[in-house]
Symmetry: C2
Subunit: 425 residues, 2 copies
């Protein structure tokens, strides 16, 4: 991790550049997979499962037997920890429920909106080195609270054709309807178009590799909604000399271990603090099982010395980090300056891991600078807010002539007439 | 408008098919425009303005002089009507402001979220036969309420290089920062990438033709957010014998006049009602200036006889109309059955025109069946909801061991360590 000085002219502009993702070549491959699944359904899924996951499956649906066995394949302690996480996620997301209030905008003109759960949704959970059951909780809990009726989950099976029992347990804990053993771009295609065995859904959630990300992006063209555009995970820490360098180092490493393309940023007004954090990183990294991945991520990463924390906040708003940890004395004051960030962690004891697992906030957050325009996943992501209006005879008399004028000025006479005909009687 | 019977086997499946949009050929043209504007900025904008809008411009920015003149070029009555619309839109969207509540998910674990306006947004307002100033109000009012700092607007100039004064007046009324005379896919590109004269924004809103729609879809790949995918406008009316056929006909026509590709649907349990509405349509259409457009739209449209309104609601939830008018006696009961719709209009006096202009609800709504997963534009569309957490020493002791277990089970030891190091001290 390199120490850079913000005031140094040579870094201007490029100081917070993210690693560029090249996707054009990938797109052709993914388009082919999408077309194939759309056309051939399950048989295309089988072909790609064999090709990419090296697995031959007769059926994608996880059986009730497999699900009921899962519970006993994980420890009681892990089950309890998941239950605690679920409880906190539920508490935080329940508070996001909107009560429908009728607004009388003009006498006799009542307007309101109502949140209705998206009927059919699909969750994608990647396979790979770690079973991301925490993402099952983060997506499944708000989906259930929102009233989504059909919640399906696709995840690639392991080498023996089985799903990790922790994923199965988490899925049943939150009330997933059906679980399918299929991964990659083909799983996204299956949920977007439907196949003989996998139902079509209206919105798809969840992280994945570049193929999955690209497939999610492409299916939006066909009217399927997705949670948000994805990118490598990232954290930024803003720290002053009140921080505890070993904590900051641990937080930076917890993000760096995600993947070689992760990015971690440290911003501080104190050079000594930066130096202490870097030397703590060098100590702690040695003991990590994923130290090679973390070391690679650290090469994309930077420690930036700023003249004061105001300058640091300006820089970070420009960067728009997915996670922002504020390890500074005056975090209450500086948190008011946050404009662009996915989720913010305040003080020395709010580590990112807490939000990743169990504090209650959602961990599906905008990466890659998307925090400038996107929010993280919340209850909102699983509902549509439908507006309603009920206008009385009196109400239309109050606003009718304004509507007539406006419609006429836009050259839309039938719009005008829909009011005129009602005012006449 | 054809009367079809839902129970008739020959219509199964295809009864509510929408006209298909072909976009592959278009995409290549739009990609070229995007690349060109990204590379050559203003000079590319000038080239395309000359090519598509037949206009040669030295500067895109609307001058303060043009803006101040606009006010006097429209009638006092129209200005007053716009002010009324603005007031109602403001009232309804203000009520969507979220108060930030701190939730203590576990003792010592405080979580909350805060809405922060998207800093820079762009509004696109199409040119063409009608000046859509109402859309300026529908997008500009919530943008301002949300606290967006920079609100720019692009719209193609008319033949004399001028913008319609009603659009200019609406833009100043809501507080648009800058207005630019540029339209089409090149305007979307300008707002997505920025040029010498037009600033880059983080999210782009507004309707447009197929080129604009395609450009908006394509720029999402590069991390620019958009309001929602677009499609032709549509309305569905569910009516029983309590409806007033001339009102229903006027509502159907007000949608049909939007464009030849608009779709209007009438669903009723009463054949006589359908027949009366159709004959009213045939009468009213004759007097409309846009009767040719409306007539074309009616060829895409259907009147469907259902056995009862429950069946009608099922059918309409499957169709997911942008606008749904409930002209039936028991609309209170049946409105509870709405799952998929953009905006719902209840009773005989709630015409769609009211919501299009002045009742207060937003008229930027999900078309083309997108109401299954998308909401219309609201205050939410202009903010990011950032989550915050503040965990005390006690708090991390309460949830720390669960986090350690969960992180370990996911194979993420650095995540675990970020907690362990805090629990140790």
């Amino acid at each position: 991790m390199k120490l850079l000085n913000y005031s140094d002219k040579k870094y201007t502009g490029g100081l917070l550049k993210r690693p560029l993702l090249e996707s054009a070549a990938l797109e052709k491959t993914v388009e082919q997979i999408l077309r194939d699944v759309k056309k051939s359904g399950d048989s295309a899924l089988k072909k790609y499962s064999l090709k990419f996951d090296k697995i031959k499956l007769d059926s994608f649906l996880v059986t009730t037997k497999e699900i009921s066995e899962a519970k006993n394949l994980i420890s009681k302690e892990l089950r309890k920890a998941m239950q605690l996480a679920k409880k906190n996620i539920e508490k935080f997301h329940s508070a996001q429920k909107e009560t429908s209030t009728q607004i009388e905008t003009t006498k006799g003109v009542l307007c309101w909106r109502k949140s209705v759960g998206i009927e059919k949704i699909g969750l994608y959970i990647p396979g790979g080195s770690a079973p991301l059951f925490s993402t099952v909780l983060m997506l499944g809990v708000p989906a259930k609270l929102a009233g989504c009726k059909e919640i399906i989950l696709c995840t690639p099976p392991g080498k023996k054709g089985k799903i990790d029992p922790a994923i199965l347990y988490a899925a049943t804990l939150v009330g997933v309807t059906k679980i399918y053993k299929v991964g990659g771009a083909q799983a996204i295609a299956a949920m977007a178009y439907g196949t003989e065995s996998i139902p079509k859904v209206f919105k798809i959630f969840g992280p994945g590799n570049q193929f999955v990300t690209c497939a999610k992006q492409l299916i939006t063209k066909e009217g399927i909604a997705i949670d948000m555009p994805a990118g490598p995970s990232e954290v930024a820490v803003i720290a002053d000399d009140s921080c505890i360098p070993s904590y900051v180092a641990a937080d930076l490493l917890s993000q760096a271990e995600h993947g070689a393309d992760s990015q971690v940023i440290l911003v501080s007004d104190d050079e000594q603090t930066i130096k202490k954090v870097i030397s703590e990183i060098n100590l702690q990294i040695k003991k990590l099982p994923r130290k090679d991945i973390a070391a690679k991520a650290l090469t994309n990463s930077r420690a930036i010395l700023v003249k004061d924390l105001d300058q640091g906040m300006q820089l970070l708003n420009d960067y728009a980090p997915e996670h922002l940890i504020m390890a500074c004395k005056d975090y209450k004051k500086f948190s008011g300056q946050v404009i662009n960030a996915g989720s913010v962690f305040l003080g020395n004891f709010s580590c990112e891991s807490a939000g990743d697992y169990a504090s209650g906030t959602n961990h599906t957050l905008p990466t890659n600078g998307h925090a400038k325009a996107y929010s993280g996943v919340s209850l909102d992501s699983f509902v549509k807010k439908i507006t309603f209006q009920e206008i009385s005879k009196k109400g239309i008399r109050k606003i009718g002539s304004a509507i007539e004028l406006l419609a006429e000025a836009e050259g839309l006479h039938a719009h005008k007439n829909a009011v005129t005909i009602r005012l006449k009687k």
